[in-house]
């Protein structure tokens, strides 16, 4: 299967280490085999009163095997873990490399948190593919071969029969178990998924549940599902328990059969009796190598699924490709949307036909001017920002910067020309300072402080114990919505690009801070082209043009004054906003 080959390809990159680990593993198993069987020979030989000199070799071997097994196991673990971590690093780097140009593919944005955590978990599952799937299989095959050869020396029949039993235990038993468990396994997954959804609902929606008096109802549903799941799991247990049981049984049956076959041979003198014990333990010991195969196959199955999911996401073609021969960076910085329409691409397999998100949108933002795009949430406003950043290409129409289509420029040129403060800006698990420096790595302290002041973060930073050096993110400080927004604005200001796009810069701020921040941002350099996307109608008098967007179309446009006089959409939105108390 192609997925398997691709996965093996990842291993191939580290082939010498892999080979070493495999060899160590095989030697380790062989030592174990050797220890018991040679010990058995030793005892038998001693019973026959062989001379001490004849026995020294065996004694020596037994001691060696005793030490080597432990030593080789230790080494093998170290090397195989090394391989695993290298694999992990390769996988992650590869995945990142594939995802970066794709982002923000519709795929990923659909249910971002969900899908991303799943991908990361899939990668973690794959990292174990060497340790838990690949290695056991190779070692099992090698040891089986070794055993076969060793037995062959005594009698071909013994060798074949043992090999048969080994195959039965290593392949037959897992196959049987998986067939028996398949449908149950499916059903179990379904039940568990439903149970989990109910639990999540209960925890996240506890307020509503209690208010509606339905907490015990939810509990009842969970108990019910829990019972069903329990019954299913019990049935599964009977089947999965079979795995180790049948392995054990096969091993002992193999030994019995070998005895049964070997005894006549001993009687006939074809095999020296002293080797009988040796043979019995050799056969018994060889099964240790095939016992992990059942779990290994299961694991392989899961890995293949994980790999499939991963490749599905990473194999997508990027939405946007940059030209091989780009135009020089733009000389002037007028941003223009020319009859732009947009819908998310239909060939993504994850959703049905999407409606037009933007419908025939045209506007121009000249250097030194300010344009605002307003409208209720869901009207398509944020998509305009994404299109201006060329995260997607428009379905119809064209977007131009400095007179030329965006498609003509190199990615770097675009990023340098357009700075943005987005709504859902991500704060990394770094210090506040490093988070800001993301916008301009070489910024001086003065520049950073200036941006912080203008974004009205100054007071906030002073209140922090370590100021700008406070760590943020998952393990650090969690910022409120308003604080996060201000960091986004500070980043954009620091970047100081000729085109500035602000997406909902003040949605969570109290009115006083909102006013001050916008005043600072709007008063900036006269060469800058500013595009504001917002549903907060504040300082609108300073806008050169306001566009009212509803369901993807521009329904009104003009200056603040003319729009008010128009008594249309804009006026109604202003009225709604005037309704608000200063209670943020």
């Amino acid at each position: 299967m192609r997925v398997l080959l691709r996965l093996l390809g990842f291993l191939g990159a580290h082939r010498w280490q892999v080979a070493l680990a495999v060899v160590l593993g095989v030697v380790m198993m062989a030592s174990n085999l050797g220890l018991l069987s040679v010990a058995a020979y030793l005892i038998a030989a001693s019973a026959l009163q062989y001379g001490l000199s004849q026995l020294t070799l065996s004694m020596f071997l037994v001691q060696i095997f005793g030490i080597s097994r432990a030593a080789f196991r230790y080494l093998e673990r170290l090397v195989s873990h090394n391989v695993t971590f290298k694999l992990l690093a390769s996988l992650r780097t590869w995945l990142y490399g594939r995802l970066e140009p794709l982002y923000p593919a519709r795929l990923l944005e659909h249910r971002t948190g969900d899908l991303l955590s799943r991908i990361v978990k899939d990668v973690e599952e794959l990292e174990n593919v060497y340790l838990r799937a690949f290695s056991p299989v190779i070692v099992a095959v090698a040891i089986s071969a070794l055993t076969f050869v060793a037995l062959y020396i005594f009698d071909p029949l013994l060798a074949s029969v043992t090999l048969g039993f080994l195959a039965l235990s290593g392949v037959g038993v897992p196959l049987l178990v998986s067939v028996l468990a398949r449908r149950l396994g499916q059903r179990e997954l379904e039940l568990r998924a439903e149970l989990n959804v109910r639990i999540v609902d209960g925890i996240q929606g506890v307020q509503d549940l209690l208010a509606l008096g339905q907490a015990s109802g939810q509990q009842g549903k969970i108990e019910d599902l829990g019972r069903k799941l329990g019954r299913m799991q019990k049935r599964m247990a009977s089947i999965t328990g079979l795995q180790s049981t049948l392995n054990d049984l096969t091993m002992n049956l193999a030994m019995l059969t070998i005895l049964f076959l070997a005894i006549p041979l001993v009687n006939e003198g074809r095999i020296p009796g002293v080797y009988l014990a040796f043979l019995a333990l050799l056969v018994l010991g060889s099964f240790e190598a095939v016992q992990p195969l059942g779990t290994a196959f299961q694991f392989l199955g899961r890995s293949l699924h994980a790999g499939e999911r991963l490749f599905e996401v990473s194999d997508a073609r990027p939405q946007v490709t940059y030209p091989d021969e780009p135009l020089p960076p733009p000389g002037s910085h007028t941003l223009e949307f020319d009859h732009v329409s947009f819908r998310y691409h239909e060939d993504e397999a994850y959703h049905e036909d999407e409606a037009l998100v933007l419908d025939d949108v045209s506007f121009k933002v000249e250097p030194g001017s300010r344009v605002a795009i307003v409208g209720p949430s869901g009207s398509g406003k944020s998509t305009i920002a994404s299109l201006a950043l060329r995260f997607w290409d428009p379905t119809e129409g064209e977007i131009r910067l400095g007179g030329h289509s965006l498609r003509g420029y190199a990615e770097e040129a675009l990023r340098n020309a357009i700075g943005v403060a987005v709504q859902d800006t991500h704060l990394f698990n770094e210090t506040l300072r490093d988070n800001l420096l993301l916008a301009r790595p070489g910024a001086t302290d003065l520049e950073i402080d200036s941006a912080v002041e203008k974004a009205r973060l100054g007071e906030f930073v002073s209140s922090l114990p370590r100021g700008l050096y406070t760590p943020l993110g998952e393990q650090g400080l969690r910022l409120s919505g308003g604080e996060r927004q201000r960091v986004a604005v500070a980043r954009a200001l620091l970047r100081d690009a000729p085109v500035l796009i602000l997406d909902e810069p003040t949605a969570n701020l109290d009115p006083a801070t909102e006013h001050e921040l916008l005043a600072a941002v709007y008063e900036q350099t006269p060469d800058r082209a500013t595009l504001v996307i917002t549903h907060r109608l504040v300082h609108m008098e300073r806008m050169d043009e306001i566009l009212v967007l509803e369901a993807g179309r521009i329904v009104e446009r003009g200056t603040h004054q003319t729009l008010l006089e128009n008594n249309g959409h804009y006026k109604r939105m202003v009225d709604v906003q005037n309704q608000l108390l200063a209670t943020v």
Binding site: R92, Y96, G241, P376, T425, V576, L580
Partner: protein, 556 residues
């Protein structure tokens, strides 16, 4: 566990028979026919042992399933008792993970690790006891090595343990870092740093690898110790047996038997090592679960002194005070407020003033430290909690939509309601229109895996719930506007209908709402600073007037 011991016994029997067979054939030259019965017996022992093994697996698994189910249900029930105060405080994600994944991890701990620990002590003793009577030398050799193992493992292990802990946390931080980077890709790209990050990912992964390996060198040592002692013991036993056989102080059959049993002596301990890691994870999960179960619930179940309240309700708060557990200062102090029956009171104040706390107290998600809340003169703590809440309908700022259809979601308010009643409620709430436009109408799936509703639509659905519940008291937390005039109008109309003839408390953010209200109560920093009508409060030019301040508005 009993089965484990029985299994060990069967193994001993099996091995004894095996050694007998080999002995007879090998030394006494017996033929197949002569040892036939023994072989059959051996077959029987083998089958018996496998059977016992199977039974042991099943019973261990069943035990684990039972424990998991119990804990999961108790955990959920307790979380319901702890209520929104607790679940919002802790990270919801972490609680969900504990309830869903944590309970699964118990499997390894309860089902395998714990029983295995017991077996590790019993089985070796059993084996040694059996061997002792006929070969005390080997038995002693084995018994001497046995305690050495845990002792040495602990010595080596505890040193590595600390490093291991740090490394495991480094591992989870690294995973979090990777997820972090992926989640922030769009931000990285916007600043043109997308490609550069790739180098960092590679570097971080590599550093992690090197550091972890250093630690693993020590961690694996304890495993090495176990293996080494075990295999070396076996080797020594074998050599000792060989020598004694040569001298003639022991016969073949018992010698061979001892050799066969020696690995069995060490087997449980080695298996224990295999389960250790998963077992430790399970133990950590169990500890967390018990930590949650032991957290006291914030609300007493209600004395049951009163059973029912009738008709319209007047709510009175007397000297109510409440402080959140982690906080130093009270969220509410000295609140004296009456909500007359059938009236509408608007609650206003800046964020953090205590408005949500008041709602939590009324809903009895928490109980006041001081003071009392009564309805029609009866303290609400006299009623069982569920019964009290039957009198309240809550429309929150961000209503939660459950996994299920629109119909089911609305019907949560009154499960016995008919389809017509649900549809009527939706109509009154101004929601019927958008529901009819959904792909399957009222049967459309929403919530966790369904269609996403907009903020305004979710609010109307919550209002439909309130209509359906038809409770005497209505508590509403207005959403802060997103400038959708259409949605605003619909919600406003619906609320006007809903508020009739009920005792209403609304956390207000809009002028229209406070105009409509009969009374306004203003909170500031936990204190009730003003009450009155809109006109009265504007004249006073106090905190309320400031909230209504014109500078918040653009020009008219």
């Amino acid at each position: 566990m009993v089965l484990g011991v029985l299994g060990a016994a069967a193994t001993i029997a099996q091995m004894a028979l095996l050694s007998k067979v080999v002995d007879r054939v090998f030394l006494d030259g017996e033929s197949l026919g002569q040892v036939g019965t023994l072989l059959l017996l051996l077959l029987g022992a083998v089958v018996l042992r496998s059977g016992l093994l199977w039974l042991r697996e099943i019973s261990a698994e069943r035990g684990a399933i039972y424990v998991k189910g119990e804990l999961r249900e108790r955990l959920f029930a307790h979380l319901m008792h702890l209520g929104p105060g607790y679940t919002k405080g802790e990270r919801t994600g972490e609680l969900v993970a504990t309830a869903v994944e944590g309970t699964e991890r118990l499997d390894a701990y309860v089902g395998r690790y714990l029983p295995q620990m017991a077996l590790s002590a019993l089985v070796p003793l059993l084996v040694a006891a059996y061997v002792l009577p006929f070969d005390w030398i080997s038995a002693v050799l084995l018994l001497v090595s046995a305690p050495a193992i845990p002792v040495l493992m602990v010595l080596v292990g505890s040193h590595a343990e600390k490093h291991m802990q740090r490394q495991w946390s480094a591992l989870s931080r690294m995973s979090a870092h990777f997820l972090d980077v992926l989640q922030g890709l769009s931000t990285l790209k916007a600043f043109g740093r997308g490609a550069a990050e790739r180098e960092r990912v590679a570097k971080v992964s590599d550093e992690f690898r090197e550091r972890t390996l250093k630690v693993l060198r020590y961690a694996f040592l304890s495993g090495f110790v176990l293996e080494f002692i075990a295999t070396l013991s076996i080797a020594l036993v074998a050599v000792a047996l060989g020598v004694r056989l040569l001298i003639g102080s022991i016969a073949f059959e018992p010698a061979f038997l001892v050799l066969l049993l020696a690995p069995e002596f060490f087997r449980p301990l080695r298996e224990l090592g295999v389960y250790r890691h998963a077992g430790m994870e399970g133990k950590a999960a169990a500890e967390r679960i018990f930590e949650i179960l032991n957290t006291p619930a914030p609300v007493s179940p209600g004395s049951g002194a009163a059973t029912k309240l009738g008709g319209r309700l007047e709510i009175e708060l007397s000297d109510v005070e409440y402080t959140y557990p982690e906080s130093g200062r009270p969220a509410l102090s000295g609140i004296n407020l009456t909500l007359p029956a059938g009236s509408c009171t608007a609650l206003v104040g800046r964020s953090g003033a205590g408005k949500s706390t008041l709602v939590n107290l009324l809903m009895r998600f928490v109980d006041p430290e001081q003071g009392r809340i009564s309805a029609n003169g009866t303290p609400i703590t006299d009623l069982p909690v569920e019964l009290w809440r039957e009198n309240l309908a809550l429309v929150p700022q961000r209503p939660y939509l459950f996994y299920g259809t629109v119909l089911e979601n609305i019907r949560l308010a009154r499960p016995e309601a008919t389809q017509e009643e649900v549809e009527r409620a939706a109509e009154l709430a101004g929601a019927a229109e958008f529901i009819d436009r959904l792909p399957q109408g009222y049967d459309t799936g929403i919530g966790e895996r369904g269609v996403r509703l907009s903020g305004g639509e979710a609010q109307r659905l919550a209002i439909a719930r309130a209509f359906l519940k038809d409770a005497p008291v209505l508590i509403m937390d207005e959403s802060t506007s997103s400038l959708d005039p259409e949605s605003e109008r619909l919600i406003g109309d619906a609320l006007e209908l809903l508020m009739r003839d009920r005792t209403v408390l609304v956390i207000a953010h809009r002028l229209n709402t406070v105009y409509r209200a009969d009374y306004i109560a203003v909170l500031d920093d936990g204190y009730l600073v003003e009450t009155g009508t809109h006109a009265e409060l504007i004249e006073r030019e106090g905190p309320y007037a400031r909230l209504v301040d014109t500078y918040n508005r653009t020009l008219a």
